[in-house]
């Protein structure tokens, strides 16, 4: 195990050090255009070391156990140039308890994954013969370990099983639909639900509808919501507080979003793709409430950023073996409201129902600006979906948008590391070529 070799060799030569080691074994079965395309296996092993010496930190990483000396020497050399390190690495602490490993996931064989994909494609082609389907099923076993010179020595195993389905319909244009399933808690094949969701998206999109440029009520489904939440996820990052670039500076415990919105960063979500008993530098994982009924509750920090800002780590260090820890979100949860989708649509005389958007992260997201192209969306007229829309964009400032929340859905969708309901915005600006 590289981490112990590294920490033993470096002990006494530095003020502090930590090592993150990760090993993963991933199996991927891929179908393209309705046919099995490939079987893939990935074996990943790597180790990253951060050293702190004379108040600065140095970092190096390697996948090669034979280059441990290079790894250590480079980290030591870079400590002369690296960032200031006015913090202490976390001490030995009991990690939190969170389920991340279900053995049944590892018992899902390649043959079973192939069978699932084939069954889904057969069922879809019977119902929707014109739809071309791509499927990727990933099964991953990983082990993550963090050890430091302060006595922390943590390790956890994780099993993940996820499926991504993309359906492509080519008529007089091109229309995408997609679906995602996280089966990491229980590998129970949910074909009926997947079929129902995809069939519904395709059937609603058989007809075309046009929408004129204007302001409309828009229902943003959980699959599209992460793009609207992205600027907020950036703004709550302690790094943006440190650099004085977050629009949330000075707004802690103030009302920023609609009182219908509660957002939680939760590394303890059972079987979430970002779940872990400790963060990337060994701080015990916890739930961080980001917004409670619209009130901003605080930034997220790793140890280094917290020290600069005079705060404490929130257990939010995100790190892989090839990178230094940075503050970041883990699993993002939005608490559900009480709205049912059917009833919500019935109450809209003219509006949009949005399942997928592209173009996130390209606008001035630091200021909260978004401008997104609706890649899978539908027109709602007099309470019913009348057809798919094309060449339509939604734009605006997310802080203004999330103040105009008319309803939040009662069901939360598991999207791996996002656990979100739908949100009805009372008025979003929609640009259209129609």
């Amino acid at each position: 195990m590289m981490r112990y070799d590294v920490i033993n060799l470096i002990q006494g030569r530095v003020d502090q050090a930590d090592v993150l080691e990760r090993e993963a074994d991933q199996t991927i079965v891929e179908f393209r255009q309705g046919k099995l395309y490939s079987y893939e296996t990935k074996l990943i092993r790597g180790c990253g070391v951060r050293v702190i010496k004379n108040g600065r930190s140095g970092f190096a990483s390697s996948t090669n156990p034979e280059r441990i000396d290079d790894l250590i020497n480079t980290a030591l050399e870079l400590a002369d140039l690296g960032p200031k390190a006015g913090f202490r690495l976390p001490p030995a602490e009991e990690p939190a308890v969170v389920p991340t490993f279900e053995n049944k996931v590892m018992l899902v064989t390649v043959e079973r994954m192939v069978e699932w994909g084939k069954d889904l494609i057969d069922a879809l082609s019977a119902r929707l013969p014109e739809l071309k389907v791509d499927i990727k099923i990933h099964r991953t076993y990983s082990e993550t370990s963090v050890v430091n010179t302060e006595g922390f020595d943590g390790h956890f195993a994780k099993a993940e099983l996820v499926m991504l389905v993309i359906g492509l319909l080519v008529d007089d244009g091109i229309f995408w639909v997609s679906d995602f399933v996280n089966m990491s808690s229980s590998p129970v094949w949910q074909m009926g639900q997947i079929l129902e969701r995809i069939e519904s998206l395709v059937r609603m999109g058989k007809r075309r509808a046009t929408v004129r440029t204007g302001t409309y009520p828009v229902v943003v489904m959980p699959t599209a919501l992460p793009e609207l939440l992205f600027p907020i996820a950036v703004a709550v990052n302690g790094k943006q507080l440190e650099k004085r670039t977050s629009p949330l500076i000075g707004k802690e415990n103030m009302s920023v979003l609609s009182d219908k919105i509660t957002l939680i960063d939760n590394r303890l979500h059972p079987y979430g793709l970002a779940s872990a008993p400790f963060d990337g530098e060994g701080v015990r994982a916890r739930k961080n409430v980001l917004f409670e009924r619209g009130f901003f509750k605080g930034f997220v920090f790793d140890t280094a950023t917290a020290a600069v800002c005079g705060r404490s780590s929130t257990g939010s260090a995100v790190r892989d073996y090839f990178s230094l820890p940075q503050p970041g979100l883990s699993n993002l949860e939005m608490l559900p409201g009480d709205a049912e989708l059917g009833a919500t649509l019935k109450g809209i005389s003219e509006g949009l129902l949005v399942y997928d958007v592209i173009g996130g992260g390209q606008s001035n997201y630091l200021a909260g600006e978004v401008s997104l192209n609706v890649s899978c969306g539908y027109k709602i007229e007099n309470g019913v979906v009348t057809g798919r829309v094309k060449d339509v964009g939604i734009a605006g400032n997310v802080y203004e948008m999330f103040q105009r929340v008319a309803a939040v859905g009662s069901m939360v969708r598991d999207l791996g590391s996002n656990f979100l309901p739908f949100v009805l915005f009372s008025g979003l600006k929609v640009a259209s070529r129609a």
């Binding site: 050399e77 440029t213 670039t245 390209q362 192209n373």
Partner: protein
């Protein structure tokens, strides 16, 4: 090395096998605001084995390169034989042996990390010295890869890849109004490619401050003139991805939509993908299937001329290989990708293009773009209004989106001033990012473009 690789895949009961083993080194330096945020170096080694049998692939990637990888090869051969037979095959190539060395004047591997850090600190300080700039993000990266590639055709290629680049971003703030602006440079060149860039850094600070005073653009339809940087991103995002044949090889409807000879633009429009351009970010000699790089015309005089191919997609479509199967590292199998993609220049000057526009936008630069086949969206860095043929007020938050085919048909002016850019980032597709690419174009004028904004 050839002998070792040969032993790993020798005698497998498959139609085709290849192994790619790689050693790489990467350095990065990041400044955020006044402080250095990250200085790091990574050493990686690993490999990828692919076997092809009766239309299916089995792929294995690994970090530990020793005799044990023969077991991975055997396991892949066994797995691929269990998969149901599928139509198709691969274009085969003759036995061959080639070594491609990287030639640079100032090889970044021979320059100390302290010198790299010093240069980025210097650029960062220029931004910080500018009044009104509250924070910065300046980064340096270099990457060196040595790849050993061998196939069951007894084809062997040793190839070195290297690139480096830097980016600088200034964040300006006036009360709650926060604006940021950045530029980056990326080349397959030596360290000289990023020294002496003070003028660029000063421009970044100035534009970030100008953006504080710019109004958000009003959403709607406009005639736009897009600058070479954005026009290049448009060529890459809007049409280049559509030309990648892995999407179209087995989809009859898409094949028909992308049939060679179909008109997608005005007569003057020619779009090219060319990895053989010297020293550009997306340049290489052989792709990751051992196919020689070549110039490929995606659109010639407004008509679809060629598609970008892997060995498999070329076989399925009955076309020639183009050398566009690329992987970002040993962790991935190659997929069909672009290299240096650009629109060929024509005759119009910028002044002539402006003359024809009464009420439009001059749109500059790109924050990035995305496409889902015919739908695209990309964001500019900033824009100016065009009023009666003159550039006037600066506006911000300008995002262009729409339908590729309509937008290509709506190009009504192509400039004479081709510029090719390679930034610090790269292209993303199917979880593989960033892939080194460059994009380029002259100025373009396009009618009836959807502008997203406030």
């Amino acid at each position: 090395m050839k002998q070792f690789l040969k032993q790993v895949i020798d005698g497998l009961a498959v139609d085709y096998a290849e192994i790619r083993v790689e050693e790489n080194e990467r350095v990065r330096v990041v400044y955020r605001g006044k402080e250095v945020d990250d200085v790091g170096k990574a050493y990686e080694s690993g490999g990828c084995i692919r076997v092809f049998y009766q239309g299916n692939w089995a792929v294995g990637t690994f970090n530990i390169v020793d005799e044990s990888i023969r077991n991975i090869a055997l396991e892949l051969a066994s797995q691929v034989q269990k998969l149901p037979r599928r139509e198709g095959g691969l274009i085969k190539l003759p036995a061959f042996h080639e070594t491609v060395k990287l030639v640079t004047r100032h090889d970044p591997r021979h320059i100390s990390i302290a010198e790299k850090e010093g240069l980025i600190r210097h650029y960062n300080q220029i931004l910080l010295n500018t009044r009104g700039i509250v924070s910065t993000l300046c980064g340096y990266q270099d990457s060196y890869r040595k790849v050993f590639w061998y196939s069951s055709e007894d084809r062997y290629i040793e190839q070195e890849f290297g690139w480096l680049g830097f980016s600088c971003r200034a964040i300006a703030r006036d009360g709650t109004n926060v604006q940021d602006y950045g530029e980056s440079v990326g080349k397959t060149l030596g360290f000289e490619a990023i020294t002496g860039r003070e003028e660029m850094v000063e421009r970044v600070a100035k534009i970030a401050l100008d953006l504080l005073r710019a109004e958000p653009v009003t959403a709607g339809r406009y005639t736009v003139i897009i600058d070479p940087l954005l026009a290049g991103v448009f060529a890459h995002e809007a049409f280049g991805h559509l030309s990648e044949s892995d999407h179209i090889a087995e989809n009859e409807r898409l094949r028909s939509l992308m049939r060679i000879g179909t008109r997608y633009g005005v007569d003057e429009l020619t779009i090219v993908d060319d990895p053989t351009l010297p020293l550009e970010k997306g340049s290489y000699r052989y792709d990751d299937e051992g196919v020689p790089a070549q110039r490929t015309e995606l659109i010639r005089n407004g008509l679809i001329a060629q598609h970008l191919h892997s060995r498999q997609s070329a076989y399925l479509m009955g076309e020639s290989v183009t050398g566009n199967a690329r992987a970002i590292s040993y962790r991935y199998a190659p997929i069909v990708r672009m290299s240096n993609t650009y629109i060929e220049p024509r005759n119009l000057t910028l002044g002539e293009m402006l003359e024809g526009v009464d009420d439009g936008l001059y749109v500059v630069g790109s924050r990035g773009g995305m496409t889902e086949l015919e739908s695209f969206t990309f964001s500019s860095l900033y824009a100016f209004k065009i009023e009666k043929g003159k550039r006037t007020k600066m506006v911000r938050d300008v995002t262009i989106s729409g339908n590729v085919f309509e937008t290509l048909r709506n190009i009504d002016g192509i400039g004479s001033d081709l510029v090719i850019y390679g930034g610090l980032g790269g292209c993303g597709k199917a979880d593989q990012a960033p892939l080194p690419v460059a994009t380029g174009a002259p100025h373009l004028r396009i009618r009836n473009v959807i502008i997203g904004g406030r």
